[in-house]
Amino acid sequence: MQKAPFVTGYLTEHTGDDAYATLDGYRARGGYEAAKRALTGMSPDEIVNLVKDAGLQGRGGAGFGTGMKWSFMPKGTDKPKYLVCNADESEPGSFKDRLLLERAPHQMLEGILIGAKATGAAKTFVYVRGEYAHPADVLERAIDEARAAGILGADCMGSGFAHDVVVTRGAGAYICGEETGLLESLEGKKGQPRKKPPFPAQYGAFGMPTTVNNVETFSHVPHILNKGAAWFRGFGTEKSPGTTIFGVSGLVQRPGLYELPLGTRLDTIVFDHAGGPLPGRKVKGVIPGGMSMPILPVSQLDVPMANEFLRERKTMLGTGGVMVLDDSVCMVRVACVVTYFFRDESCGQCTQCREGTGWMNKIVQRIERGAGSKGDLDILLDVAAKMEGQTICAFADAAAWPVQGLLRHFREDFEAHIEHGKCPFPESFQL
């Protein structure tokens, strides 16, 4: 794990400094000043409107407007309201939240505290994926420090506002990154997503009004309060303001984290920042936003990394996990890895997803073995189409999209297997 991204911005400017993870170090950099202002001098509506004006979009994958989401929380209810911080980062190819948890836990806590004031939440549950034991420990320590200093507790920073933060560790289920799967898990159950409506703002954690935001999303908030909406909009595109942390992995010279404005072109990230392909290799395709997002071929990397542009190319920003595949790679093997993952992680609740993920995996494995037939590709697309949009949560879509993307741009790889009766990519990574 690197301590700071190769390119830093306002989110990660100080993550290279070990002290930044401590309360003293964070305060030395102006930490908790924004929260203090929010708690003592701003109304909830003022905070919500500021975050709306800034145009902050959720950084967990769906990209929904954060200020808008906060405004959905009911007012004038006597029920306790909760925030949930989704730290279940488990979209394959994503590792930015881990950095923010390990190196800047107070930045996230400050964002949570501001969000709590904006929504009137009494408590925040941070749901950390089970495998992130070290990040969870760092966060627990930061919460203890904030509590001891009176930043969290019955009277946060002398403002009269009460808030506490609880860390809950998951136990290795991808579906718990889906917000209602997460809520079920938080309640001590299997992480099987809920039907919506009712949405979490009406019926969330323990049946109470709840808003779920991602680690990075909360981490942007103190900066917006400190420097204003216009400053925030100075980064990124008109529709997608701010920076984000791209995680580059795969067959590339300099894999790692890069904080860059949204709208940075994908080819700039892959070739300029991450140094391009390994010696003697060419880039074949890039998955732009975590494994659920459809792949782009090398001819289409001239796209700004923001949803309004990526959608035109039938993919999305997702979590900003950029996976680079070079000309050694067999795209059918990629499909084998992808479909195995979704088969393994389907919660089993909806038939289309439970059965569809299994069938897709069986078919692509058959093709990889050289036992596929010409009709298999149509069956694959048919199964994918019948999963998409048909289930309780977006997992089935997330499983269907990458297969559709691989067939859209690399159909010839699949056809070559079927034609030759074997895998024609001897140099590809092994299964």
Partner: protein, 155 residues
């Protein structure tokens, strides 16, 4: 009683953090597993009593999540990431090499009960592939020889 007084006290402290008792079930399972290594049927029954639910409700949670075990495990868990970013950079070669080194397949435990080996989905270390975790500790940027040495050091 199979759960120690100390773990029981830690479970009670967790229960205080949640508006409903059952919210602390996952934390409790982590705590019990730390003590016992796995969730035996009698442990599940005791947890069910603590959480005022049926034993089957504990077991369905145990079996839903990859990190809870309903059977005895090796003293050390070695999990190698084989998701796409790691596969591209030798994650699967690493699993095969370890399988050969230990004489078991992923999913099995060595005869001496020392190591349970598994492959795992993305662990969020994609830029430092290949990688594995031993228990709660990540080891990144591995090669086969370094990985073998790490495993040989496990008692």
């Amino acid at each position: 009683m199979v759960i120690s007084a100390e773990t029981r006290a830690a479970i009670d402290a967790q229960i205080q953090k949640y508006p409903q008792r059952r919210g602390a079930l996952l934390p409790a399972l982590h705590l019990v597993q730390k003590e016992k290594g796995w969730i035996a049927p009698e442990t599940a029954r005791e947890l069910a009593a603590i959480f005022e639910i049926q034993p089957i409700e504990v077991l369905e949670v145990v079996t839903f999540y990859n990190m809870f075990y309903d059977r005895p495990q090796g003293r050390h868990h070695v999990y190698v990431c084989t998701n796409l970013p790691c596969s591209l950079r030798g994650g699967r070669d690493l699993v095969h090499a370890i399988e050969q080194h230990l004489g078991i397949e992923a999913g099995e435990t060595t005869k001496d009960g020392r190591i349970t080996l598994g492959h795992e989905e993305c662990l969020g270390a994609c830029a430092w592939a290949p990688m594995l975790r031993i228990g709660e500790t990540y080891h990144e940027n591995l090669d086969v020889e370094t990985a073998k040495r790490l495993l040989d050091e496990l008692k």
